[in-house]
Symmetry: C3
Subunit: 275 residues, 3 copies
């Protein structure tokens, strides 16, 4: 039998400990024929917003019916819900802390299940590592069902895992705002190269600029145009481009824009358009 | 044919170099149908005790007959033995430096083989990278046998790899001690969140406390109770809990206990019980 | 169907972002039956030479017909070519920036294709992430062809992806030089243990020394012999050995030679032979 299902992982578990390895062990013990793909385990500890951004930017690239497991879980052991949900193309599993909301804005949930059926839990079930004891085995058992059917007929199937609920915790990533000739956003992600990813997407930008002249201001720097690739800017000069995930990004050719400009997450970016 | 076997990896090889990738290449060249799971490559260089702790905490979560490959090998090129051993549920492969001993305390070896049969080695065989040249190919050939049989009948099979020996190098993780009303342990692992994992396990703790009042002392801090999850403590106040691997742990809600308390591995933790 | 093909990855994408995960997603969406092996994602940003060294040291250990994907791509979005090439045993895919040259010195290309056939690209195709949009899908579609045939008969097959070209961009790793009684090389890689890997290979060294006495000089240290393993040197004394990839290496038993000697990439290493 060929590998049919994929489980993706986003956590804040880092790289040194055995947490991720043990989650994979639990999955493979239940279903050895699953592909497991790490999206990131380098989420800043307990930073749900960062995990939400990574999930929103990534989930669409995965095979049909991939199970996206997101365990950034500051509320583990509290009464926050454990969620399994289904969209047109994917499944999402994790604590109900808002982390799915930005992704679901693009692909709304068709069914939301609060995971309660302990039959699928690892025993004994700890109160502090639901990633290993609840989310991983539920994801693995779900892929076993998917391997058999490839498509979940009806809704009865995933409701085996718990009870249907109507809503999820919400989370909104900071939004860019237009006020007359100003478009103001902020840096919401800084990648490993030091590139500064803003929350201004290509559509918002195009609608705002409309072929007029503009300047992009961040810290004390002003940029007057959009570049088309990372090799275009002059050496160590900041430049702007729409990145491959469709966000306006500030980068520096041959260096870290974050270090060079002293910019952290939350720094404002302002675009001023001429009349 | 479905994937049937799993090989887990624990090394101190880190993340930048090609050591781990080349080990996986060697394995897949021999058996492409194996799942390889990284437990950790972030073991402190040559820290056998840390690797032993990670192995002991992890091996049990893996599928039946997983081959656990542990290469933290300060003695590579010396005359330390190369070992393959079998327990009721698993196989373990690596240099004979004591790293298996704490795991084997829970699941004793049924057969121990000193790996000597060069037929299974990569050629030429280096004197400095036995992980690639000896342990990885032996693990991969072993999974090929397992894929055929699922169960190793008799003992002749793994003795193909070398000669039976009777004992292994020992290694003891520091043990907690009770002396009248004091239970003294130490911090043996600090995870990526900065949580302080002690060598006091749940059974030892329960037997000592016996429903009496107690205080937990570490550095100049005193904690009077056990919490049940990471979200319970007050912000930036240290708290104690039994973690998901059953060890007493000191953590801080929203921060790194290691940084906040200035605690390293080896720091004593003391529990004083009332009469 | 068993897993038949392997894709290896070398990038400078690091470990925190979703870049690598999304590349794997794209691959598995096209061919779920492929093994993906990370060689390294810790290449220093845009350091083509480091990637070339890692590729040259690693590619040979992989299964026959592995597709080696190397994306260290400072020129993304410029007019640098996108290359797919075939050697006797392997395939190589990535930007044409010289990164393949040192590996190909050992195993010359039989056919070089400039990737131009947009049929195999992810749509829309960004100008800044060809790893995801071009190289990953081309690698995945190639493995699907390989899975069907195991061997590419004739050359028509890989030329589906673009047009045949005759040459590649060259890149030479710094070479060691002999001048009478001096053999001078330099440190070209420093591994995670702090071991200093030089560009002096075993053959060059043996030919130069010819059983004469010699001393190895680096910074202000002099070493008079070759050790055979990492456990041979005295504690914190630097020693020299031929490493498992056949390069002369300077290491320190129980420490980082890089930190201890204050050596970076590019530092000269000089061997002086007696007459």
């Amino acid at each position: 039998m060929s590998k049919m299902s994929t489980i993706s992982l986003i956590t804040d578990f880092g790289f040194r400990d055995n947490f991720v390895g043990v989650i994979k062990a639990v999955i493979l013990k239940i279903n050895p024929d699953v592909n497991i793909v790490d999206i990131s385990h380098g989420v800043k500890p307990q930073d749900i917003q960062e995990a939400a951004f990574l999930l929103k930017s990534s989930f669409r690239y995965f095979p049909y019916q991939t199970v996206h497991l997101v365990v950034v879980d500051p509320g583990v052991g509290s009464d926050r819900k454990k969620i399994l949900l289904k969209t047109k193309n994917y499944f999402f599993i994790g604590p109900d802390n808002g982390v799915f909301a930005p992704a679901l804005a693009d692909e709304p949930p068709l069914e939301i299940i609060e995971i309660t059926n302990q039959r699928y839990f690892l025993k004994p079930t700890s109160s502090t590592f639901h990633g290993r004891d609840i989310f991983a085995p539920v994801a693995a058992y779900l892929t076993r069902i998917l391997d058999k059917k490839r498509v979940l007929h009806g809704q009865g199937k995933i409701s085996n895992f718990g009870k249907r609920v109507k809503s999820l915790k919400d989370l909104r990533l900071p939004e860019a705002r237009v006020k007359s000739l100003n478009l103001t956003g902020e840096i919401i992600y800084i990648d490993h190269f030091g590139n500064l990813v803003s929350n201004i997407d290509k559509d918002t930008l195009d609608n705002f600029i409309k072929n007029k002249k503009y300047k992009i201001c961040i810290k004390n720097k002003t940029i007057n145009k959009l570049s088309h690739g990372y090799s275009e800017g002059s050496h160590l000069q900041p430049f702007a481009l729409v990145d491959s995930f469709n966000y306006l990004e500030i980068a520096i050719n041959g260096g870290s824009a974050s270090n060079y400009l002293g910019v952290d997450k939350g720094t404002k970016i302002n675009i001023i358009r001429s009349i």
